[in-house]
Symmetry: C2
Subunit: 199 residues, 2 copies
């Protein structure tokens, strides 16, 4: 057989419309855009209710949404998409090369895959809407086994962490997604539909 | 500015030559191929000394190597490359869809990013050459903070784990890579060159 030799991810066209002219002057403004992208993403059925931005000095470097369903790749979570697009734009696997300060804005503490993906990306700051069991409870996603001191582990690697930015607004998105799941309108793409597991 | 909208990964041509006709009849045979790919990968300077296979019933679905340097994407570790290529080949984000049994063979316990990537991929079995601090000690890579019961967490999600397959041969590859690093011949692509951190 012929082995596969390429894979790739393409951002949906609607993302550019959504980010055009967006205010990025404060953490709250950035997170408001993330929440908006996350909500639109599951409505568009391109993936789960997750979005992420890479921002530098108020300038948007990339915007990502969860594209597991659209791309057919289980790794294309919002953080991986945003970080990979940013690395493509700047031409380096290290977003912190040459002293650059770039930050990742995302609508919850990353899952265990994206925890590592963020750690290896070169960003110097992570901003999350929140942390805690609400995400798994509301959406049925499994976030994986994480160390308890996850934020301290980021700080030890030179990545500062800011939490609880528009937390309630993020939970509103997860609640809306949860209602969609209940109604059978969307696919929760956990492999084998196993859902959250006691950790 | 125009936002980036695409990213992708292409496997180097030499991988196809290396896997052609390879014996995949036992775990040891599969791991011997992984070790061979891992060694060649750093010699070719496409990335770190890591490779991975997705295999089903003795048939090779995909082969991946670490392509962080070649692709410019920090997430393109061997596991992500192999899993993404396999998902592209089968046309699904879930390698376990419809009861399929597919396994991932890799030359050490995955880093924290690839721990999650493996968990969400749908594979039903993971085979690793080993686990433990030797990888970080020999290569200077940071593998990230992992839960102590990492293997049990896989098993709880329906992914069986087989360890210590050609462990010494894997360590030989890391030793060879470590010598290359000492000689200044390769790039250890940890962002900000921070190296392993006390965990």
């Amino acid at each position: 057989m012929t082995l596969p030799t390429q894979y790739g991810v393409t951002l949906p066209d609607w993302v550019a419309d959504e980010v055009a002219g967006a205010d990025l002057s404060t953490d709250e403004a950035k997170m408001a855009l993330v929440n908006r992208l996350a909500r639109r993403n599951f409505m568009e059925k391109t993936g789960g209710p997750f979005a992420a931005l890479v921002v530098s000095g108020g300038e948007l470097i990339s915007a990502g949404v969860n594209l597991v369903l659209a791309s057919g790749l289980s790794s294309s979570h919002a953080e991986v998409v945003a970080l990979s697009l940013a690395q493509t734009a700047v031409g380096s696997w290290d977003l912190g090369a040459n002293g650059a300060k770039r930050e990742l804005i995302v609508n919850w503490r990353p899952c265990v895959q994206c925890y590592g993906a963020t750690m290896w990306s070169g960003v110097t700051r992570l901003v999350v809407a929140g942390d805690g069991p609400e995400l798994e409870q509301l959406t049925k996603f499994d976030e994986g086994p994480m160390v308890a001191d996850w934020a301290a582990q980021f700080e030890a690697r030179g990545i500062s962490v800011t939490q609880n930015v528009l937390r309630e607004e993020a939970l509103d998105v997860y609640r809306a997604y949860g209602s969609f799941v209940e109604s059978g309108d969307v696919t929760v793409y956990n492999a084998r539909d196993s859902g959250p597991i006691e950790k």
